[in-house]
Each structure stands twice: as structure tokens, then as C-alpha cells.
Symmetry: C2
Subunit: 977 residues, 2 copies
Amino acid sequence: MSVLTQSAEHSMSDIDLSRLESMVLAAPDTSHLLREDDNLLRQTFLNLLNHHHPELAHKINVIYALSRSWVFSETPGDFEMLQKRLEDLNPDELILVSSAFSQMLNLHNLSEDIGNAQQEKAARMGQVEMSTRSTNRSFKKLMMVNKVEPAEIFKALCTQRVELVFTSHPTQALRTSLLKKYASIRSTMERLHNSRMSPYEKLEALEDIRGQIQCAWRTDEIRRSKPTPQDEMRQGLSYFQETIFEGLPTFYRRIDTALSKIGQPHLPLSHNLFTFGSWMGGDRDGNPFVTPETTRDVVISARLTAVNLFFKAIERLMFELSVWRADDEMKAAARKILDRQQKDPSAIVGERKSRNYSEFQRVIPIMEPFRVVLSEVRDKLWHTREILQHALVHPSVNVKEALETDPEAYYTGDEMLQPLMLMYNSLHATHDDSIGNGRLLDVIRQVVCFGLGLVKLDVRQESTEHSNAVSFITEYLGLGKYSEWDEKKRMDFLVKELTGKRPLLPPNVDMPKEIANVINTFKVISELPPDSLGAYVISMAQSASDVLAVVLLQREMGVRNFLRVAPLFETLDDLHNSKQAMTDLFSVDWYREHINGEQECMIGYSDSGKDAGRMAAAWGLYEVQEDLVEVADKFGVSLVLFHGRGGTVGRGGGPTHLAVLSQPPGTIKGKLRVTIQGEVVEQQFGEQEVAFRTLDLYTSAVLEASLNPAPRPEPEWRDVMKKLSEVSCAAYREVVRGHESFIDYFQEVTPVNELGRMNIGSRPAKRKNTTSVDQLRAIPWIFAWTQTRFHLPVWLGLGEAFQALIDDGKKDVLQKMYANWPFFSVTLDMMEMVFAKADPRVAEFYEKSLVAEELWGFGKDMRERFEKTKDYLLAVIGHKKVLQSKETKFLQQKIQLRSPYVTPLNIMQVVCLKAVRQLEKTGKLEDKRQSYVPTDPEVAAILSRDPNSKKHPYEAAIEDTLIITMKGISAGMQNTG
Amino acid sequence: MSVLTQSAEHSMSDIDLSRLESMVLAAPDTSHLLREDDNLLRQTFLNLLNHHHPELAHKINVIYALSRSWVFSETPGDFEMLQKRLEDLNPDELILVSSAFSQMLNLHNLSEDIGNAQQEKAARMGQVEMSTRSTNRSFKKLMMVNKVEPAEIFKALCTQRVELVFTSHPTQALRTSLLKKYASIRSTMERLHNSRMSPYEKLEALEDIRGQIQCAWRTDEIRRSKPTPQDEMRQGLSYFQETIFEGLPTFYRRIDTALSKIGQPHLPLSHNLFTFGSWMGGDRDGNPFVTPETTRDVVISARLTAVNLFFKAIERLMFELSVWRADDEMKAAARKILDRQQKDPSAIVGERKSRNYSEFQRVIPIMEPFRVVLSEVRDKLWHTREILQHALVHPSVNVKEALETDPEAYYTGDEMLQPLMLMYNSLHATHDDSIGNGRLLDVIRQVVCFGLGLVKLDVRQESTEHSNAVSFITEYLGLGKYSEWDEKKRMDFLVKELTGKRPLLPPNVDMPKEIANVINTFKVISELPPDSLGAYVISMAQSASDVLAVVLLQREMGVRNFLRVAPLFETLDDLHNSKQAMTDLFSVDWYREHINGEQECMIGYSDSGKDAGRMAAAWGLYEVQEDLVEVADKFGVSLVLFHGRGGTVGRGGGPTHLAVLSQPPGTIKGKLRVTIQGEVVEQQFGEQEVAFRTLDLYTSAVLEASLNPAPRPEPEWRDVMKKLSEVSCAAYREVVRGHESFIDYFQEVTPVNELGRMNIGSRPAKRKNTTSVDQLRAIPWIFAWTQTRFHLPVWLGLGEAFQALIDDGKKDVLQKMYANWPFFSVTLDMMEMVFAKADPRVAEFYEKSLVAEELWGFGKDMRERFEKTKDYLLAVIGHKKVLQSKETKFLQQKIQLRSPYVTPLNIMQVVCLKAVRQLEKTGKLEDKRQSYVPTDPEVAAILSRDPNSKKHPYEAAIEDTLIITMKGISAGMQNTG
């Protein structure tokens, strides 16, 4: 060996070692799967279009090529050409082109989902490294890096619990039926990727996709009427029927496998890693369509769904467990059931016949003990269903009582669990584990998790509604006007009443409608089974009395299983003095002993973002959580924080993981309660594979947050944050409220005033012209700025804050904060994401086309701030361009891939806004529009679809296009998984 | 070129050309897939066994190796070793070993099914040549070889109809739950073969198979109680829910593709290639458990299943057809529905709420016209279901009337078809064909095929029951005893009454139970919807009056939609004078005009085979069919022959194809009605792929029988057949009835007397000792000889017949008959199949172990006849050994592959029979048996499973083993697909 190394050293000296070092092989890009599907779906759509409108298809093709060329190569000429092409589309084409691009965009998003699911599947068929750090990984990391013992992991999992609360989303853009069509396109695409198909089956699959795309193309994108809360509820329930109910036990099975791989036992049968809640039909905050009956209805129909799902599962079990071997307990139980049935076998048989059971109508022999026991479970489920249906039709029935007092009906999950465990233990006793751990184990876990309620409904109401109700009572009793008392007087009154026993109201007092509405809600609550109810959430909560008022009202209306009361502090001011409110609350001895050491608070920051800017709101929240936990610890109360996820646009990797990590350390002790919005529900549970991934992410996120909490922020970081949010808040308000031409600019450059036209969500939008931002709800405010791809509410004020800090030399502190503090890095990454999606050129295009000349200066100023803020942000996170780090580069491409679909929609929106506003100003159309009649039979049909609308066809065309572009752009801006 | 060929000629002369010619490359065998699965399933089972009983597993392994060695290499020593091993098993092991082999045999059969399904799938993924000639092939053959025009094929298909009638099988060996377990093992194996699975999923699949096999191992093979007709019915209905309902439209779709490939349009939407009938709950022949209520129940629950299936299908359609475009008719229809709903929308909504519809509870807007129309269909289905459930519980409700008179309920399929066609035409009018031809087309075809009845129930009753009923009436009216009148007097009476209008009985005459039972059946028929009923079948029919009596009873009891009456001629004598009976029948003018030119006759030959031997029975049937068709043509009546497929063991390629071809030409004019037995139903419809194959086979079989009928037999062939059946019949009877020691031999060598113990099927077996073959039912007679693998009833007498013919030089005629006459070749092939499965060495083993010495001569004589018959048979069909031709060789292997599993069961059966009989003779056990107590806890549990049986454990062990071996051997002898 020695001989060789010397000589070679000499002859190679003229090629120096260092140059050799730097030649790095380039890493290849892996998104060709994404492109492939994108191409396939787009081609299929264009072929369909070609079939119906050959001309249109090629126009769209050129528009797309021009739009791509502009997006990816930025030669100015392309934008003008693109603009010209779109401006001289006639109204017929405007509608068709806009909904074509909207379709293509949705199909494109679909192929992103498929790409993710494929990675997911690839991930499970052997571990390509890219999927997020799931549970397996967390195990490994915790054990290797953080030296956590496997037994500790097991212990942590045995006490960990995540509750996912489904809520409906106010701007759910896509109609459910379109959502479902895309879902079935997705699953057919999955089959195309994954299973081996015969040419016949491949043809049928492609044919099926065509049919679905054609169907989607034919379905009216615009929602013509508002969904009712019950609609939303049933829609939520469908996810349980399709993925969650069956998926959950399989997920547990895989966690067990993961545990056994680190030598740990499987999860205790009685422990729930997940439970599910819902707001649909319980959230009456600013939604008058949610009445006490509504709440009752949704609870009953959720229970009905649960009973149906279990009925089928039990029938399947009956069929499979034809085993004769059983231990003595099991035999005794079967014998007892048979003796009862033997008294009158024919009645039994007759009864089963009338129910038309699909199998086993006769008395089952003792030699099939499992079926004997299960047949009783089946009969009880059937009877439970009858009671529920009866209750659904007769609003006067007290559901709780009806179920509780009837021995033949199941009231709680435990009653049903008991026979199942009997069977499970019997199979274990007879060494038939491979049978017990089959479907029986799954059913046991479904009972433990979903019980007979399936989901727990939260009731949410605004604090003032309770004050008015209590005020009505005090006036009725002549004690004065509660709503005018100060906090102290209220507290004395409430504490006195709560510690006393006397009722306040005699039965049947007649009261005004609003008051009756509030009071009856409590009555309904008292008549519903407690395991169908979750928390009572008080929105706009301000003080301790808001909480006690609800407790009092519950007692007053005979609620025996009190609902825990979770105050929701929304505005910045309420957040600031929430600490005080909770201190007052916990100081009431009666209350502490009433909650016996458990309190839940909800925090969400939709409104606070609107009036203080995002950064100040985020920091405000962070501090509040720490304060609340601190207050709770002082009173020896364990606090659970309930996170309402407003319309945040989270960043890559899914909000959950980092959202969890970015909470103040110690606020998540293995317990997490979080809301999931309508659209996100479809994304996270619409499809089996992705549902696994969702559960997987939550499990590992919470596990890590408990066993390996993020480090505590240093004092210096707090000061910097304090300064950051004061300066940004001031700068934000100085523009949004201080600048006199902001409102005008806002109303001209965005479609905020035209928003009302899309009736989105079941909540009425306040209608009158906005003269200041305050009357605006948070949702439209953000939505409007998303349309112009400027996202002003997210970054406004941040630039000034960064500047102030960097000027007195805090740059390196900011960088350290980004490098080591998840809260800070998550917030900044989210902003980077927004900058990546923003395109000021489009915003400027809106301005030049819609805003009066004298306001252009203001716009230019805003864009300069945009660039400045972006540069500061990039400087702090140390990227040269947005989304430059390795694991986000891929994300950056995804965003760019959508842009060629979104840009034409922006241009068409501007065209429509110009027309709509010019229409309102002059109130009439100049001549050539006046004479417009749709030539394309298709368009004619579209415009005359709504028989009872008198709008002139041109106006209708413009309006529909406007709505389509709003949905399309919103679909283009949604965050990607 | 010329230069080369010469010179080479010279230099190669020393290797002569001829030797080169004869070297044929050997074709490799293709059944390794079958072996692979067989190994996997056997290994999994043995591993399970190994886990629970290590000792036993290895014993079984050696037994299997010895059994294989004996089967495949025939060295005598192996049999003795095998016998010795099995004889010194103690009772514990006897039970375990026998049910282990029974399990392995069932698993082996399973792998045969999988092999077929795999070939099926391979067949459709590109054409390996081996599958039978399916529809595509028939098209090609008909067009190329028979020069049939494609348009003719289309026309033939447009009038072709096959009705499959499900009946329960008297000896259904496997219990349904075991059947289903094997079915789910099969489908998991399919998934293992066909879809790409991640290692996780593969693990879960293998785990699932283990669980199922373990479950099967744990399920008691022996059926302890008799199933009721309703049980059988529900079991039959499950095939519609699982494969037929969804599979049929997909099958039509593929026929359409096949048609378009030969340039023909697709099938008319209104035409049914298939309809389905049932006997379950209608067949009361010798089954006292089938009462009028039973019939009513099964009809109602079949309708309930139909309504449920359509309810789900309509809900799915509602969800998908969110299209707004519709033609004017469609809009008008939607508008009409909405106007009615607008009168009181809240009632509508309330009503839907109470029904807890999963979607669309509110009034649907006019802009979704398809959903509006479908919502009405849904409401009507819901209401129909209510009426049916109400009828199920209140036996007094007249179902027909309730459905017919209620405008909100559907009475016939057409009422539901009407709105569906409206939608279909609308989508066609708006060029949205790819939507219309999606799921909507499938639902339309389901309605056209299944209607609201799902299946049509036949009612079957024995002729004497009607004579007694009529006799009761005539005595009641003092007209004398009908049952003693001769045929002519009966006919005059019946014709007089039928042409008259006067009622015979006043209402509410009290009558004895049997008579009431018959009369009430007709009453029930009059109160059921006609589209749930098929034919009224008279078993043991003998004369025309049997038919008219039923027509009279129908009229008497107020049946308005008369059921067509199909006489079933069973015994050879009845068959011989069925021609006369039908002539008399058609001579009645009133009757001809009553049936307006359509008559159905059923033919099946279970009993005739028993008393004349198979060949005579087959030929008898053949002639009868020709006679009946001839009689019908004379009276201008078109006759449909209804084939009852007795327990024929058909031969390879499935009975249907050749069974159809072997019917006399011209008896199947595009119409076929045939029964399918319980077990065969599982085989032919248990699994989606095989269900396609079944429908495929019937379609092409009937198509070819119509467009390319088999040639007519020549006169000389008829004479030969006449002689063949006379000689065989005489020789058969001379042994079965003439030989005085036949009965003794029969009872000693077969388990015919021990058969009673397996309560198989819902029909009571007549119990007393048999002194002659006559009191024996046909089923046990055949079953008994199958157990010893001698199959005497099939071939007995055939040898003498062949000898007689060959002696006067008819050998070449016989060979020509085999080569050109499907009927003859099918019958002989079936016999060859039986010889292939028979094993006289086993039969001899039974004899030497169970029969008294002085009867051995008789046995030896029977075996010589067996060999002689086999040689004659082979000489006629020109094979050197059984199943030697190319396409049956593969079959021959399948049979052999089972033999190693069956032989040990035979030996154990002999061991048990010896013990059982020795027990009966001496009535007590000699000492070491007396002291037997099960040591294995497992066996102890098995034997004490039946708490109320006082049998000594040894006796119980022997008996159970006996039953297990009977089932196992029967499973081993069943024909293979």
C-alpha cells in the first residue's frame, strides 16, 4: 500500500486537490409525478372542451402558454399580450374562459393532493425520506437524540389526547358536490397509480374521470342559496362514514406495530389518542339560523349515525364470530340471555322478522355463544335507534331521559362496551387471540372512541346575549338592570345565587324572542345526553362574570351534567385583561370547587389580527397563553387551551406540527384541542391515506411537544418582541385607521364591496357600505386583499418594526430568535410564505385599472413598504430570495405552478370590476353592451338559469364571471399540504 | 440462393431428414399458480396447527406425504403404512386429524377457485387461450366459421333471455358461515395476487388470512340444527347484495363494448338478457316448514331488499347529478314536483328530517332539476318501504292492494323507470351523454332487470295435495270423492267448472289442516304483487287434470294474475305418458286460450336416475323433450322447458355450456330457464370475477344454441340409443332390485344407514330401515355411493349395454355418435369424469373392512363390471386412459391433486363405521374404550359442546368424526369449475 500512495501523489500535483473538492453532483428534481398528473388532468379537460368548443380550447391554450411564459420568464411583453387577449373576449367567452381556468386550477390542486398522497404511499412502501417526521420518526428521534426511554414514550402516549373539533368555514368556496366530484376524480387517479388494471378497467377508469370532469364542468360553480346548519352537519358526518370511523382503528393498529417495534406493549384498549368534537349546529355566534331545535337536531342525527355505524359493525361481527369455544363467564352470559329469550321464542322470532334483520332471525343456539351475546347488542341498538327517530320527530321528547330510563336502549358507550370486552377476554382465555385481535378489537376501539354520540357538540354564544338574559331576570325580579351593573356588583349577585339554592324564575315566564332563544338553549342542553356535548364556549368573553352567568343559567334551567364553560377572549383588549378575568374567576371558592381543578380557555385571533396587524396579534396571544397558564397554576387549576385556527395560511409541512411546536412551552401537556375548518376537513380527512397522515401528524406533534418541549424564550427576546409588536401595531393602525385615503383606496382596489354577492357560508354578512375597517368582519377583510395577491393585512407595519429594531443593532438578536425560537420562526415562515404568494405587479395592475389617479401615490408607497418589509424579512431569516431554503424550495415551485392559472383570473376580475362599477355609476349600459345577447346556447342557458332574476344578460354575465374569478383566485391562494 | 441449397444437401446426407422431423419440443405444465396457492394455504394452516398442536402437525405431515406417495406412485406398501398410521390414532386425534384434512381439502378447493379466477383475470388482461369460449369468442366463431352476420347476432341477443332460479340444495355440506370465511380468504388471496401492496398491507393481508383460517378451524363444521326456509332465502338474497346487483350492469357494459367491436349498437335499455327466480320459501314439496306465511314472508323481504338497494342507488345518483342543464320536458317535470312541494315546504322539510335523510333535506331549488326529480323517487321508495315493513308485521295486510292503491308507493318497476328515462333523455338532448351513460344507465338497467321484486318466486307443490283439496270440495258439495274419480271424469268436472262462473266454496268453510294449508297458499298468492311471483310448479305431475286442478284452485281463491302452471314429470312412467297428458291438456279449448299460446314444463331427472340408471334416464328425458315440443307445436303453443339440474356431477368447462348444447336442437329458442343449487350459487356468484364468467357462459351458450344449433340425431343413432337404454336399464334393475344380496351389500359397504345423522337441508329424511331402494330418496342413494368413491348408480348397466351393441357390430356407430352428437358426448364425458374420480381400490377397502365375507364375491363382480364398463367407455370415446384428451388432461391433474386429501378421510371413515356398527351390535363398549376420556382440552371441549346430549364421549367422538369425513369426502368429490 505504501508504495502506491506516494507515486500517485506526485503525478497528480498539476490538478490541485481543492478544485476537485468543489464539484458537487446536482440533485435531480422529483416533481415529475406532479407534472404528469397535472398534464393528464389538464389534457382530459381540454379534450372535453375541444369536443364541445374547439375554438375556445385553443384560445385557452394560447392564454395558458402566454401566462406561463410571463410567470416563468418575466419578459414584459407577455403580460400586455395576455391582457389584450383577455380584454377582447366577449361576455360569452369571459364566462367560459374564467370557469375553464377555475376548473383547471382546481384540477391542478387535485394533482398536488395526489402528489402528496403518492409520496405518502411511497413513504409507507419503504421510507423515502421526504414525508414529514411522523410517529416512527419521532420515536427514533426522541430515543436517539433526546435519550428518551421507550417506556416513557409509551407512558406519554397512554395519557396523550387530541380532540379535533370540526367547524364550518365561512368562505368555503367550493360547493360540496364539486368537492365530492374532485374527491372521486382523486380516488380514480389513485387507483390508476396503484393497482394493476386490465386494459378494460383502465379504459373504464379514464372514462370515469372524463365523466366526472364533464360533470364538474356542468355543475354550477356559484352557490345560489345558503346551506343550513343541518346541511353542514350532515356534510361533516359524511367524513365519519367514509374515512374516520373505519380508519381510526386501523391507525391504532399501526401505532401498536410502531410501539411493538420499540419493544413496548400496545395501547390500552380504554385509552383514546383521539376524540372528535363539532361546532356545526352548536355555534350560534352571529348566526340566527342556529336555534335550540337546530342544536337538538344535530345531536340526535349524530347519535343516529353512530347507531347505524355500530349496527352494521355488530352485524358483521355476528357473522364472523361463529366460534363455539368460550370461557365460563362468556357461556354464563350467553346462557342468561337465552333463558330470557326462551321464555317466549316465537315473540323473539316474530319481532326480528318484523325488523327484517338480514341474518339470524331465529333464536341462536347456545353453541354459538358469541352470536347470542351479539344478537342482544343488536336488538338494543335497534331499539335505541327507534327512540332517537321518535325523538327527532317529536321535539317535546326529552332525549336524555328517554335513553337513560329505557333498559332496552343504550345510553352510554360503556353499556355497549361491556359485552364486547366479555368476548374479547373469552377469546384471550381460549388462546384465540388472532380472532380477538381482528375485527372485534376494531369495534371495541370504535366504541371507546366515538361512544354513542360520535362527536361532542360545543355550544357557542356571545357574552352579551347572556348578560341580556340575566338582566331580563333581574328586572323581572325587580332587582334592577343587570346589564348596567359594574363587574363587582355582577359578581356578588352571581356568587350569592350560585352558592344559594333558590330558583330565580318561576316556570313559563313569557319573555322576548332573543331572551327566550338563549334560555331555551340551556333547556335543550339539560335534555340531551352529556356524552353528545362538549364545552360551552363564550365568544367575545371579557370578564369572570361572563363565565359565572353561564354557569348560573345552566343551573337555573336544570342542567345536571354541567358543561364546562370555555371563555373565548377575542379582541386585543379582552386578551390583555383576560389574566385579570381568570384571576377573579378562580378567586371564587365555589367555582374552583365546581370545576374541580380543570378549566378550559379558547383562544383564536381572527379579530385581533384585523385591528392590530398579524405580528402584534400573534405575540399578544403568546403572552396571554403564558399568563393564563400561570394564573391557573397559582390556583392549582390545570388549564387546557382550545385553539381556534382562524383562516391562517400556515406554511409547508401542515400547520399542525409547527403550530403545535410554536405554542409556548408547557401549554400543551399531552392534551390538545383544536378546530378544523370545513375546507381543511376535506383536505385532511377526505381521503383514507391523507386521513392517516393527519392523525399521524397530530400524534407525533403532541408527543414531541410533551416529551421534548421547545426551549423557553430568553428575556431579551421578549423585549424585542414587545418592541416589534408595538411598532408594527402603531404603523399598522396609522395606515389602516390614520390615513384618510386608505378606506377609499381599499374599496377601489379590492372587490370588498362586491363580496356580498357570493353568498358564502350560513352567516349573514353585514351589508352597509364600510366607512371604517371596524364594521368589517375579519374574514372579508383578509379575503379582499387576497384577491389582489397583495395580502396587506399580513405584513403591514412589520417593515417599520424591523427597521426600528435593526437601527439600534438588534439584527443578530432577531436572527438568533429565528434560529432558536419555534414561535418566532413559525410566524416569520408564515409571512415568507405570504410574500412568496404575493405578486405586487398584479396589485399594481389592479390599482392602475381601478383606482383614481390621485390615490396612486398611496399605492406606490404601499408597494415600496412591501419590498422593504420583504427585504428586512429575508435579511432576518437569511435567505436571498423567498422560500429559498432546501425543504421549501419544492414548495416555491408548487406556488409558481399555480400562478399561470391564477393570473388570467386576476385580469378578468379587473375587467369585470371595471364594468360592474361603471354600470353602477351610470346605471345604464352604453349601446353595444345593451344589445348583447348570448350567442352560444350554452352561455344563454347559463345566464337564464335563474328564472326569477330580472338582470340584463350582460350584467348577469359580468357578475357571474366576477364570482367565478373570486372563487378561483381563492382556490389558487389556499395553502398547500 | 440456388447455389447454397444444393451443396448443403450433400454434406448433410449422413443425418437423414426424417429423424430431424420427429423431435417435438415438450409443452411445459402451467399449473404452478395452483400449486403455489395450495402450498401457501396448506402451510399457513399447518403453521397454525403447529402453533397449537406441534405433535399433530407433524403427524399430519407424514400422513400427507404417505398419502401423496400412494396416490402418485402406487407402490402398495404405502397404503398399508398409511392405514396403520390412521388406525392407531386415538379418538382425540381421530377428530383432529379428520377435521384437519377436511380443512386442507376445503382450502385446496379454494386454491382451485383462485386458480380459475386468476386465469379469468389473466384472460381479460389479454387472451390466454384457455378460458372457455366466452361471448367474444362466440361472436368471432359465429361470424367466421358459421358466416353469421353481425346484425343477426345483435337481433338474437335482443330477444335472448336466461332466467336463473336459485334453489336450496338438500345436501349443502358446508355451513354458510364457513362458506363465507372461505370466500373472504379467497378475496384476500385475490388482493395478494392483484394489487400492489405495501409491506404493511401485505402483512395485514397475511394476518387476515391466518385469522380467517383459525376462525374456520374453530367453527364447528357440523351443523347442529336445521336452517329455516327464511334463513335460506336471506342467504340467497346476500348474493344479490354482494355481487349480482352491482355486477349485472357492468356485465351489460362489457357486452355493449363487445357489440360495438363488431360494429353493432348497444343493447336496448329495455331488454333483459338475465332475470332471476327463486324457490326458497316457495318450494313446499315434502317440506312442511314452508307454509303460506313463509311464502308471504320471503316475497316481502325480497321486495324490501330491492327497495333498500334502489334507495341507496338513488341517493348516490342525487349526489352526482348536480347538473343544471336539462331539456324542457325535464324542466317541466321538475317544476311540477316543486309546485307541489311549494304548497307546504316546511312540512316537506320536517318530514325529511324525521326520516333522517343523509342529504338534501331542504326543498331542492329548480336549478338542480335532476335532484328535484330524484328526491321524489326517494320519497316514494321510502314510503314503499314503510308499507312493506308494516305488511311484514301484520300478516292480515293485503300487500298487493296496499301497494297498488297507494299513489305514493311504487307498485311496479315501470313507475320508477319513468322518471329515470326522463333524465336519461334529457342528458342525451343536451349532449351530456358521458354523464347519462355513467351511473344513471346502470340504475336504469337494474330497474329493468330486477324491478321491485328482485327475484320471482316459484311455488312448488305435489299433485296429490291438489287432488285432496279438490276432493275435499267435491265431497263438501256432495258431488262424490274426486280423488277416486278416473281421469276422464275429473277432466269433465274441471272443464265444466272452469268454463262456468259459479263459485264452489262459500267463504270460511272449516277444513282439516293439510287442506287448509293448500287452499291458503292460493289465497296468499292472490294477495302478492304479480311481479314477485314466477311459475306454479306441480311436482310428481302425471296427467292433465293435475294442471287444471291448480288453475281452478287459483280462480277459486281470487287470483287475478294467474300464475303459469308448469307440470314437473319426475318418474320414468310419468315421463313416458307426459306426451299424452299434455295432449289432453292442450285439447281443452278453454285452456289453450287461457295460456294464450305459452306453456312451460319442468323436467328434472333425479328419481328416474335412481330407478332406471343414468343412461336410460338421460335418454328418456331427451325423447320426452322432443315429444313435448312436438305436441306443443301441433297445438301452436310455444313451449319453454324449465331445467332442474339435479345433483349432476357435470364435467369440465362447467355444466352450462355443454348442458345447453346437449339439449335436443330447437328446444332452446333463445330462452332458457334453469335452476342453480345452493352450493353452486356460492361457486358461480360468490365472487365478482366468477359471477362475470357465469353470466358470460350462459350468454354465449344460449346465443350459440340459437344461431348454431347442434345437428339433429340420425335415425340409426336413435335405435342404438333405444337399445342402449333398454339393456342398461334391465341390467341396472336386475342388480339393484333383482339381486337378493344387493341391499345387504349396499347397507354394509356404504354409510347409507348412518346418513341420517347429518341433518342436512330443511327437508326431513324418511327414517326407517330401507329394505328396498324404492323408499330411498335419490339424494342419499347417490351420496352413499360417492362416499366409497365407487359411484355405482352412474355406470351400473352401461357395460352390458355397450357389450350388447358392440357384439352386433355397432362400435363405429357409437364412435360416430360420440364424435358428432353433443347429447351423447356430454353424457359419456360426464361418465368418464366419474370414472376418473372413482377409485375401486378404496371401494374394495371398504368391502374388505365392513362387508361379511360371503358377500365379497358380489363386490368382486361389481368391480369387474366397473373395469369392463370403463374399457368399453374408453373404447367408444377413443382415449387410452380416462381424461386423456388435451383439454381434460389438466382436469385429470386437479382430481389427482385432491386425492391425497380424500384418501385418509376414507380410511378414517371405515375405522369409524366399524366402531359404530360394532357398538350397535353389542350395545356396549369393551373396556379400553369405556375408559376413554379426552385428554386434549380442546377435544374435551369439542365433545362436551352439546350440553344436552348424554352420549358417552367415545361414541360422540366417533360420530363426529364420521360426519366430518362424510362432508370432507363430499367436498373432495364435487366437480371442479
